[in-house]
Symmetry: C2
Subunit: 437 residues, 2 copies
């Protein structure tokens, strides 16, 4: 079997148009889904627990008598953890420890202590950093429920100092995912409710008698969840709305082609819409990767998904040289960027836009998904041009500090009054002038 994966050459006159066509992806905004989510949110806001219970029993085919009955106690979370096979439990624990260590480092390095400084006249300026009080984590039910996502969303919040983490996870037909519950126990999630969909987003955003209102909602979900999150943005904070997963591999042509082929598969297996692209200056190497793709594909359990993804959204791109590969990578601004090359730091220094950069031949992207330490929640769909991996900073916020001395009130007051009169705001001017007149 030979699959028709697209091959492009950056020297072709039509290359830019071809690449744009490969990258083009528009999240379909379904008006019907958006209206349905809006209706559910309004109902949850108005009726609280009663609405959450109705939708949960209906959509997830449950017969709970109360929202309180949908809570999973800490004991059950601990039991899920104890029930895991030891190798899996150890792997989950080690992954959690490494994710925590990285985010603790990030907390120290990202200005979490705030700052103040004193000017010559005694005026003190600065910034105070505070954790959010309470955060909601949405975890999808069913197949897309990844325990690693529980760790990646909950641990940075804990490290930031969030006092309470409320997790919601739907359990269609009552089926619970023990790995997800175990991950919640390891990550230190405080409360878990088996609710999902727009009704869970509404409960977290507005609060109900049973479910406390949170300050921010993070975590991936289906189209209803995404629509509901967009709508509650402003009442609570939200993380980015994630698009399909992406990998971009820059290879100098010296990595085992089987490794690179498998790295491309590892994104493609997520989802038919996932995107895997290889950039390489060596046409012979690209041919070897293509051969490897075709040879290895039949052995993959998720081969249909991989094939659809590679054929519809993948590409093998011959570039002029590694410098051009870096330029193209900046234009693509991929979620995951592998630099599978000698002296990878040299090329990483040229990269301005990527969610995470995996350097060197031994750093498969999948290590980052689970246990390297940095977060696996990353900007997709070119949003790495302006946004960042989920981090401790997403669970903190800043307040400016301004303490003007009596002398400072005189010098600053004159400036402020002058500009306030220029803007026609006399009370602003008067308020400044009182302090020095």
């Amino acid at each position: 079997m030979m699959i028709a994966i697209r091959k492009l050459d950056s020297a072709a006159p039509s290359f830019k148009a071809q690449l744009d066509a490969v990258l083009a992806f528009e999240a379909s905004e379904d008006e019907a889904i958006d209206r349905a989510a809006a209706g559910i949110l309004a109902d949850v806001k108005a009726r609280g627990d009663a609405a959450v219970l109705d939708y949960t029993n209906r959509f997830d085919k449950l017969d709970a008598a109360s929202v309180a009955g949908l809570e999973i106690g800490k004991q059950e979370l601990q039991a899920a953890l104890s029930g895991l096979a030891p190798a899996r439990r150890d792997a989950l624990q080690t992954a959690a420890d490494r994710v925590r260590a990285y985010h603790e480092r990030q907390k120290r390095e990202c200005g979490s202590d705030g700052f103040t400084y004193t000017e010559a006249d005694g005026t003190v300026l600065g910034q105070k950093v505070t954790p959010l009080d309470r955060v909601g984590i949405y975890v999808p039910g069913g197949k897309a429920a990844y325990p690693s996502s529980v760790l990646m969303n909950a641990i940075p919040a804990k490290v930031a100092g969030v006092q309470e983490i409320i997790m919601v996870v739907p359990t269609p037909a009552g089926v619970k995912n023990e790995l997800v519950l175990a991950a919640a126990a390891i990550a230190g999630v405080d409360r878990v409710f088996t609710i999902g969909g727009a009704q869970a987003v509404g409960a977290l955003a507005h609060g109900t008698a049973t479910i406390p209102q949170v300050d921010k909602i993070v975590g991936p979900g289906n189209a209803y969840v995404a629509a509901a999150k967009r709508r509650v943005f402003g009442i609570v904070g939200i993380d980015m709305i994630a698009g399909p997963s992406e990998i971009l591999v820059i290879c100098d042509g010296s990595t085992d082609p089987d490794w690179v082929a498998m790295d491309l598969f590892s994104q493609a297996e997520h989802d038919e819409l996932a995107q895997s692209i290889l950039l390489c200056p060596d046409a012979g190497y690209i041919a070897r990767v293509e051969e490897s793709i075709n040879r290895q594909l039949p052995g993959m359990p998720r081969k249909e998904v991989i094939q659809t993804s590679l054929v519809n959204r993948g590409a093998l791109v011959k570039v002029r040289d590694m410098e051009e590969a870096c330029d193209i990578a900046n234009a693509i601004a991929a979620e995951h960027l592998e630099i599978s090359a000698d002296n990878p730091q040299r090329w990483a220094d040229r990269i301005r836009h990527a969610g995470a950069i995996f350097l060197g031949r031994f750093t498969s992207e999948s290590l980052g998904d689970y246990c390297a330490g940095p977060n696996h929640v990353l900007p997709t769909s070119r949003t790495a041009r302006f946004s960042s991996p989920l981090g401790v900073y997403d669970f903190q916020k800043r307040s400016s500090l301004i303490h003007v001395s009596e002398a400072g009130a005189r010098t600053l007051g004159r400036i402020a009054a002058e500009l306030a009169y220029g803007e026609g705001l006399q009370a602003h001017a008067g308020s400044a002038e009182y302090r020095f007149k």
Copy 2:
């Protein structure tokens, strides 16, 4: 004249409900405005310059022949600056210098250098921080055009290292605001186009033949601009959608009541929907502030706006003590919080949620609006629970760095493979295993 400003007492059984009623504010989401904005965005995306020109000529009553003709050159910006009265020019320059100094400090303190660290087996983990390439700043036309806002939006972007700042500002009937153009010159804005509304947002988000695509759009605008920004979020980054301005004053009862009354006016004069609230443990002092409000109001040029704001959305609140005032302030999470008291730091230490904290009797909020240094773009409508002042960090983003050593690929690979099998992702497992098998 006695205005009917609301007086509340935290000891009253109905206090919480009364306070909630005062705070309640829902941004009206007008479906007609949202649909109109969506139509304009789609047209700008499809027709580019031609659509921008049509809407600008129609809505702003211009007769420009091309979008290029709507650009204001650097020479005209410099001329606007040179044309200012010297006192005003100096005030604007000093304000800009102070805003720049604060944000340079913020850049140094907020982890802008990124970090890396090396583990025992040689694996390197870290984070790279990069500025956004290009940013768009929306500046409203007409009365709401504040030169201080140009400084507050453009300077942090410049300090962050953004390469190009594109400012858009509508000029209805061709009227330009010289102070705004002068502020653009001082702040180092690179290009200015006299366009506004949803068409300007669309041009910045999608790019046209004349107007370059940006990576993020910041700055306040009317309902059409806000709707358009919400819709392009994801294609570009956006800042918060700002609500009405708010001030909360905590006073121990020893500040000149005229000062506090004028501070309340300074928010109220912005807008009928602005909110001014005083918390004080001293009923006698509250009466003196109320007397001062009524005495000073008739002398204010914007007295109608102030009165409407104070009557509809203001409150003078008697609290039990300063500790309770801090608790209430945390629940309100105000945009601007003044702590007008002895030893204000003692009370600031208790504050978890506020956009900016103004400490001490000499720190009028208006100093922060213009020239203290910290940003005046602050979270409103209780969003200080989860968001921050505009800052250098809004114009930077982070990329994770992962460089796993050969030894690290073995230990991490085993963990990743174990968890990948648990999630049913065999290519993830295979990709990790290739590196150690």
